[in-house]
Symmetry: C2
Subunit: 155 residues, 2 copies
DNA sequence: CTCCTAAATAAGTTTATTCTTATTTAAGAT
DNA sequence: ATCTTAAATAAGAATAAACTTATTTAGGAG
């Protein structure tokens, strides 16, 4: 589903397409619910018994950093979960058990607060985080891509 | 500063006031920037050399769960940071280096996006999470407080 | 003040995640 | 197809955070 788009995005950003990456993207696309990293790892191990957890974490982080996947920080003992970022939405999270619901849209609005209330959910707070790259990290990153694009110029 | 309010809130919710808790609250109130758990631990160890990191984590989590402290998930390799929840605000976070800026207000609005742009920050995504207690966790929690029953505030 | 008990703690263990390093590999160039 | 090299990987070490359990303690009752 998203597979092709994800692969294309990786290529466009200068990343290599490895069997492990394909498997991770496939696992994400097939997963019914936002899975944990460990669940993705377990699934892929059926096909690639030698894949290391580090590879799964590393690539999930990459997909998050490229904006294709959203990492849901459950704000509880529960480990985070990963979800394809389409369609864009946010979450209602229980601090105690880590269960969560999907919300619609981007705002702390009446509709979402009502949705929370209807589920018997007591909201004690919310967090809005814009994430991306600060000026210097962005420059370092573009430096890297540029160097790649223009061949090897060593200092 | 917030010390008194925090202690009062803990009492009102039926929690005991231990020297460790006082020290953690003090350390938070005195910290100039949102500190890491490890930094809080180090600071308190000067006074209480035997305090365990678990106690720090446990109590920070408690303060977050009670809505007095906000845990900033830096969405990067960087560990999270803890900040007194007053005044209420949100954050702009770099995925690469973990640096962050404080934002004003609660919304993904023009003002905040402009503030990001002015800093040379490239926003690749945002997350909005409402957190609190789901129905069953809330019931379990109230059950606990009720059972206690001897507290000041019976309702 | 002393006693009592649930809550809180310290210490040690476990799990999740990240880092380090040596090896392998994707993909562009020849 | 073969060569080259930076990027990606696996494995194991290191770190952060949470859990388990035995012990201590805050704070209410007598």
């Amino acid at each position: 589903m998203y597979d092709k788009f994800f692969i294309q995005q990786l290529k466009q950003n200068g990343y290599k397409i490895t069997p492990q990456r394909r498997a991770i993207i496939e696992a994400l696309a097939e997963a019914p619910l936002a899975p944990k990293a460990s669940e993705i790892w377990e699934k892929i191990r059926q096909k690639y018994p030698d894949i290391s957890p580090d590879t799964v974490y590393r690539n999930l982080t990459l997909l998050v950093d490229l904006g294709m996947v959203q990492q849901i920080y459950l704000r509880s003992k529960e480990t985070s979960r990963f979800e394809v970022n389409i369609p864009h939405h946010h979450h209602l999270i229980c601090l105690k058990c880590g269960c969560y619901y999907c919300l619609e849209g981007c705002l702390v609005n009446e509709q979402n607060l009502k949705a929370a209330k209807q589920r018997g959910f007591t909201v004690i707070g919310h967090a809005l985080e814009l994430y991306g790259y600060c000026l210097s990290c962005k420059e370092v990153r573009e430096e890297g891509l540029k160097r790649e694009g223009k061949g090897k110029n060593e200092s």
